[in-house]
């Protein structure tokens, strides 16, 4: 498959629709995966963009904090940072009713980082790969949240935090009893033991489903969004040559209109998905902190 695409690009012919899409769905990796799960594979493009965006976000907010003046009305970037902090503060206060120094910075990081990941989808599909070709990079996927590894990395980290705080707040016994004594409770110890399998099943399934759905929700939304951008890009696959025909012009106009409409709708989706990831993290951690 890779050989075919290299031959096509070497011959400088326009790729077929399928080749174009598969090319844009291929990550820049160090080796081909040897199965569904292969931990030797590294997606360099996802790593690069996620680290770059993290440095961008953390660096700019840190600079704003350093140069913050508490005198008078805040201006410019400082007022923007204060707006975001206020928003996160309000959101955390609504859903999290315990004491934690971690939750608000975590919520801010998740929201800003996921939003920046998603925002990379707003750039034209071929722009960064075109720049990458000058650096000898042939495959480039610029949206880290379309990489299942990135989304699962974040959600499994949140999962680990949930388990950590559950055990810290409720103790190991409390954590285990949360799975074995709910939702069917009993006074009689024998009945309690009998109900353990049913309780385990009813509690473990949503418990495992939460990180999986957290990660795949973000992945699915962004992957579908990127796929539609790719399909819209297919409308002018033949480049300048298609301007000679009426169909070609129709394709150009359709691409402009559809691209605009979808990009505007996608602004809602990227913000919403970042917000949802943050809100669900806050809610899950709030449930983890609950102890009676």
């Amino acid at each position: 498959m890779a050989a075919v695409e290299h031959a096509a690009s070497a011959a400088e012919k326009a790729p077929t629709a399928n080749e174009y899409i598969v090319h844009h769905l291929t990550f820049l990796k160090n080796r081909e995966p040897g199965g569904i799960v292969d931990f030797h594979v590294i997606h360099w493009d996802s790593v690069f963009f996620s680290v770059l965006l993290a440095v961008l976000f953390a660096g700019s907010f840190w600079l704003a904090a350093r140069r913050a003046s508490s005198v008078g009305v805040p201006k410019g970037f400082q007022s923007f940072v204060e707006l975001i902090i206020d928003f996160i503060d309000t959101t955390v206060k609504e859903s999290f009713s315990h004491h934690s120094r971690v939750i608000a910075p975590l919520a801010l990081t998740i929201f800003a980082w996921v939003f920046l990941f998603n925002f990379m989808d707003m750039l034209p599909v071929d722009l960064l790969p075109w720049v990458g070709r000058f650096f000898g990079v042939h495959y480039l996927k610029s949206v880290p949240s379309t990489d299942v590894n990135i989304t699962f990395g974040m959600s499994l980290t949140v999962f680990a935090l949930i388990i950590f705080y559950s055990i810290k707040m409720k103790g190991l016994g409390g954590f285990v009893s949360e799975f074995t004594m709910q939702p069917f409770a009993a006074k009689n110890p024998v009945v309690k033991v009998l109900l353990i399998p049913a309780n385990l099943l009813l509690e473990i399934v949503p418990f495992i489903a939460r990180p999986i759905s957290l990660s795949l929700r973000l992945f699915g939304n962004l992957f579908a969004g990127e796929m539609i951008f790719l399909l819209i890009a297919l409308l002018t696959l033949n480049g300048v040559e298609q301007l000679t025909g009426f169909g070609g012009w129709l394709g150009v106009i359709a691409q402009l209109v559809l691209g605009l409409v979808w990009a505007i709708f996608h602004i809602l989706v990227i913000t919403l998905q970042a917000f949802i990831f943050m809100v669900l993290t806050i809610i899950y951690l709030s449930m983890a902190h609950e102890h009676h």
């Binding site: 399928n18 899409i21 598969v22 769905l25 759905s213 795949l216 929700r217 992945f219 699915g220 939304n221 992957f223 579908a224 796929m227 919403l272 998905q273 917000f275 949802i276 809100v279």
Partner: protein, 91 residues
């Protein structure tokens, strides 16, 4: 060759069913969600901003599984693992 055509045909049907049922469930869910939101906002207009925030949260939960389905469906369309399993054998 026939097995490849069969797998492709079945995959297309599967993708169609995934998209269709996902869209059906999501549409009904959003309809009920939006209807309840409008009812609540009509009863107590001062609560509208709070209700709107909560509505968006539930909206993302409602179309989560549909989106996961779409992600898988697009994966089957462009990088079909069933086809990849058969292709070396069939040539």
């Amino acid at each position: 060759m026939e097995s490849i055509a069969t797998i492709q045909g079945m995959t297309v049907l599967a993708v169609g069913i995934i998209f269709g049922l996902g869209a059906l469930g999501t549409a009904i869910g959003f309809g009920i969600l939006g209807g309840r939101f409008l009812e609540g906002a009509a009863r107590q207009p001062e609560l509208t901003p709070m209700l709107q925030t909560k509505m968006f949260i539930v909206a993302a939960l409602v179309d989560a599984v549909a989106m996961i389905g779409i992600g898988f469906a697009l994966f089957f369309t462009f990088a079909n693992p069933f086809l990849a399993a058969v292709q070396p054998a069939a040539g």
